[in-house]
């Protein structure tokens, strides 16, 4: 092993350990916040509820950040395992969208589908592809539904060789000058900061790492004030199993 790789490995092990350590006190915070809202232990007044909601949101963000950091450290050390299984892509996409229903409701967004009727089964690693779709969708929902009801369209197109999943929104868009940078670790565009959507800038970095590991490609089309569309293309035969040890956090 080269010196550089050794350092990388040590760094990543540290991140992994630190994240696990942080999870325990965070779990306590989350669970007790949850219990404070249980009606059978007493009722909070509206002001107190408002304060607790903020604490809860802050601590959920921390959980998300830790999960993302763990995933980044796994992806970066190449310990990732790819396990493709035959999958009904249409049902799978719908399932992932359903998991995001709470966010859709909270943001008051319209989520639409353009999925072909009948599809052959495709070999995909479900844990990893779920992470890809869910990150793209979360962005589309969050960045389109501030101050208005956004619209998000998820489509799937299949050709003999490959399939393309696209996620389109009518949100704030991404300025041309930074479109090349949004896949960088921790990068966030100024217009995303301005509308006060919580984020850590790790989502698209993870997406890109996963797609690269699949041997696929991602591209985008976006205009400020109009919206964005992300296309993910993966070869039907391309997702090869890769031996590794660790999976991702959801």
């Amino acid at each position: 092993m080269t010196k550089e790789k050794e350092i990388d490995k040590a760094k990543s092990e540290f991140v992994s350990l630190a994240s696990h350590q942080l999870r325990t006190p965070l779990t306590a915070i989350n669970w007790y916040i949850e219990m404070l809202q249980d009606k059978d232990v007493g009722v909070l007044n509206d002001k107190q509820k408002e304060y607790f909601l903020e604490i809860y949101k802050g601590s959920r963000r921390m959980v998300d950040l830790l999960n993302d950091l763990l995933n980044v450290s796994r992806l970066e050390t190449g310990r990732l395992k790819i396990e493709p299984v035959p999958t009904d892509l249409k049902a799978f996409i719908q399932e992932v969208c359903k998991e995001l229903q709470p966010l859709v409701l909270e943001m008051g967004c319209h989520l639409l589908f353009k999925l072909p009727e009948k599809l052959p089964e495709v070999n995909v690693d479900q844990v990893l592809l779920r992470q890809v779709i869910s990150n793209l969708l979360t962005n589309a929902i969050q960045y389109s539904s501030v101050g208005k009801a956004g619209q998000v369209i998820v489509s799937l197109a299949v050709s003999p060789k490959e399939y393309t999943i696209s996620v389109k929104d009518n949100g704030i868009g991404i300025p041309k000058e930074v479109q090349g940078r949004i896949f960088e670790k921790f990068f966030r565009a100024d217009n995303a900061h301005e509308i006060m959507v919580d984020g850590n800038g790790l989502g698209l970095y993870l997406v890109k790492q996963i797609i690269d590991a699949f041997g696929g490609s991602i591209r985008l089309d976006s205009e400020v004030g109009k919206g964005s569309i992300f296309y993910v293309t993966i070869s039907l035969s391309g997702m090869k199993a890769k031996v590794g040890q660790k999976g991702l956090e959801k």
Partner: protein, 125 residues
């Protein structure tokens, strides 16, 4: 009344689980490490065990293995509750005979209650 054994070395988490499950109408038994947990399990025959993995002394995986080789305890359903999220760890737990594996930081108490009720076949509201 169904009896649940909680084995967890982090006191605030142990207390939270016991508190919430008691309010749901379960009776709870508590243990702070695997060795005590194993003894309580064999003496009290709980209906279900919530089991942490990383604990001082006997850890959760070892306790699970010991439970599963003993005819007196091998049929008690065990739910692993851990903050280790590696797929390999999860598979190891399931292969060792756990009913399910939850990552503490990613679940609400409400989810824990739901899965406990599901495994015990009690009324799910």
């Amino acid at each position: 009344m169904k009896k649940i054994l909680i084995v967890e070395d982090e006191i605030p988490l142990l207390k939270a689980l016991a508190d919430r499950l008691t309010r749901e109408g379960f009776s709870t038994l508590e243990a702070k490490d695997g060795l005590v947990g194993l003894n309580v399990a064999l003496e009290e025959h709980p209906d279900l065990i919530l089991l942490d993995i990383i604990m001082p002394g006997m850890d959760g995986m070892e306790m699970l293995e010991k439970l599963k080789v003993n005819p007196l305890s091998k049929n008690i359903p065990v739910i692993l509750l851990s903050n280790l999220g590696d797929t390999s760890k999860i598979l190891e737990g399931i292969e060792a005979g756990a009913e399910s594996y939850l990552i503490k930081a990613n679940v609400k108490l409400e989810d824990v209650v739901k899965i406990v009720k599901e495994k015990l076949g009690v009324n799910i509201a």
